[in-house]
Subunit: 389 residues, 2 copies
């Protein structure tokens, strides 16, 4: 009966219009109707990647797209740099190690971003780097790497491909793949794109296609060359995730209605609202500006609070579901997801319920201060940010 308030960094809530689009009668993935849907939808998604390249669609989770990027572009033994600022950077490194790449890991403390200076210094003693891997938004820490600046460093100092995990932010943040010099950009459906899990999206630069064409590593389901061949016919090599592509088309409707620029602004606003609310409650954040992600905020466990008990209370009494910390941050932080089908009103709701929970646990704070700060931030913005969908 109760409405679940899912404030995770993915999967995220699905708009009703997307559910409805996904409930349309299914069609064959080899029919002219599908080809039309596929061509139109993959074209409409390009602005979210900032690319003139094709955006390939795989029936798989975002992880599969990351693996596809690695295994298609790099051969065993080749040198790669993996920038890790958290759990998903480690994940990228694990994939590269599994396939026998010569992995040089630029490891940052969780909660920090990698700066262009750090990357440049790290690259200096290395040569013949085949690829540099980076996470755009690190879901485990709520940190956004300065991807545009990192791309410049890679291009200035190396001939390497720049391969970016955009899973928990593409569709909510600016991305200019072509202009910045990203060679492979991958994301998943269940984050800012407001879809259920199961669709991976990946786009590849000319330079990366050349590397992929020369790569001999055996790969079948995740073979990007096969996807490129079929893309030209308006299809995928295997049975497409037809319903998710119906849904993606509806997502394009929603974002085009809001305009992508305002979608980006809305996410910036929500980040700011959460930040101001936590400041007002004197609760620390893990990340700091200018590297805080507009899609997810990692909040440090309020002093003297039993985090497990707090999250359980919020979930069971108020049906508010935050995500816990991963790895070494378990118990240290919780994560407030605010991406995709999430609006300033949802932030106010969650902050308010959070305060109710804090009060019940006798946490010392001024009740209402967080909501007030968030609402102040909201009211200070221009009128057209919160659009009706």
């Amino acid at each position: 009966m109760y409405k679940l308030i899912l404030r995770h960094p993915g999967p995220t809530p699905i708009p009703k219009k997307v559910n409805m689009a996904m409930s349309q009668d299914i069609i064959s993935h080899r029919s002219p109707e599908f080809i039309k849907l596929f061509r139109e939808t993959t074209a409409r998604i390009k602005p979210l990647f900032g690319t003139e390249q094709d955006v390939l669609l795989l029936a798989a989770s975002g992880t599969a797209a990351l693996e596809a990027a690695a295994v298609n572009a790099v051969s065993p033994g080749e040198k790669v740099v993996v920038i890790s600022i958290g759990a998903f950077g480690d994940y990228f490194a694990a994939i590269c190690e599994k396939y026998g790449f010569d992995v040089h890991k630029l490891q940052k403390t969780w909660g920090e971003a990698c700066t262009p200076e750090e990357l440049e210094a790290f690259l200096k003693p290395l040569n013949n780097i085949k690829a540099v891997f980076a996470t755009y938004c690190e879901t485990s820490t709520g940190v956004l790497n300065p991807i545009e600046d990192l791309a410049k460093i890679v291009k200035k100092n190396t001939d390497a491909l720049f391969i970016v995990d955009g899973v928990s932010c593409i569709g909510a943040v600016p991305a200019k793949m072509d202009e910045w010099g990203i060679d492979i950009l991958a994301t998943g459906s269940q984050k800012a794109l407001m879809l259920p899990p199961g669709l991976a999206l990946i786009s590849v630069s000319e330079q990366a296609w050349k590397a992929i064409e020369n790569n001999q590593t055996p790969v079948y389901y995740l073979n990007l060359l096969t996807y490129r061949d079929w893309f030209e016919q308006g299809m995928t090599p295997n049975t497409s995730a037809v319903t998710l592509i119906y849904g993606l088309s509806a997502v394009c409707d929603l974002i085009e209605e809001e305009t992508f620029a305002r979608t980006v602004e809305r996410h910036e606003l929500m980040k700011k609202m959460v930040k101001e609310a936590m400041n007002a409650l004197d609760i620390d954040l893990l990340a700091s500006e200018p590297f805080m992600s507009p899609t997810v905020t990692a909040i440090r466990t309020p002093k003297y609070l039993d985090l497990e008990q707090f999250l359980q209370l919020l979930k069971q009494k108020y049906h508010l579901d935050f995500a816990g910390g991963l790895g070494s941050l378990q118990g240290q932080i919780f994560r407030f997801g605010h991406m995709g089908y999430c609006f300033p009103a949802d932030v106010l709701e969650a902050v308010s319920l959070m305060e109710a929970g804090l009060k019940e646990l006798s946490y010392p704070f001024e009740m209402g201060a967080g909501v007030k700060a968030a609402a102040d931030t909201l009211s200070a913005t221009k009128a057209d940010i919160q659009v009706k969908i």
Copy 2:
């Protein structure tokens, strides 16, 4: 406006109850609610595989499950036998060749099954076979291999694993993985399981797990050991296809309501109805008994008919969508899918529209004879086959 009558061998129509289940509010793939759903649903799907083993769920198409079976169980250079009776057998062989297995292909003419005697003779001169691959239902020809008998031959003559592609039949035909001696059985969601594409299901025997544990081939997204580890916690390693698992739970409701035994009978009946209708129309079938699939019938192009023109007419005038032939059978056959959310009434509808199309193209036949034969077959069955869902 017009209802599309999709009579393909997949994707197949989705029941409304499944669409509704898939429209539920999304939950985290790491939440107790999801774990409960996952555990219950994976247990309920076991009878369709005929196994006491776990049924693992991958967010991917059926192809990925076939690749997972191959790459996890067999190492490069190892000897395998691939029984190919059509396009999807060839597909299995292509995957095996891609990964550098020593492939011995038992190639049958398209439209025929592989008999136990043929397999036994083929295996005789070979030794040290790591795995035998076979297709249960060959979607491209509508032929069902005698999997139980083939399994016996494999187990009697070799120590090999028996790896079966069940994509276009599991959920509609008997399958007794444990009893028959199938080591890996894989299927996809979008066929007899009445779901959208995007979920792969795979089950693995004890013997196959041993082989997988000893295999060193690098694989990440399709690493079955990782799926097994996470399965014990009621989850998948990556973000689960939550909505498809909601849908799978509804599919279990529907099949349990009908009872799986009657689901199997219903498919047998529909196969017989199509066969009798085509006989009455004097139109030849590609396959013959006892190897005709209960899920899809390959029908030879009626004499003197332009197949392309015929299928276009049915699609454009009557919104009836049959599938064409694949590979060398293109133009030679068309395929009438009758699996999953398909009932005897749907067969009558499609046969009747087919007759209307034949008449319009001045095909010489007795109008109504096909429908009459199919209806005769239907009326001769016992009452409880066509259940209300």
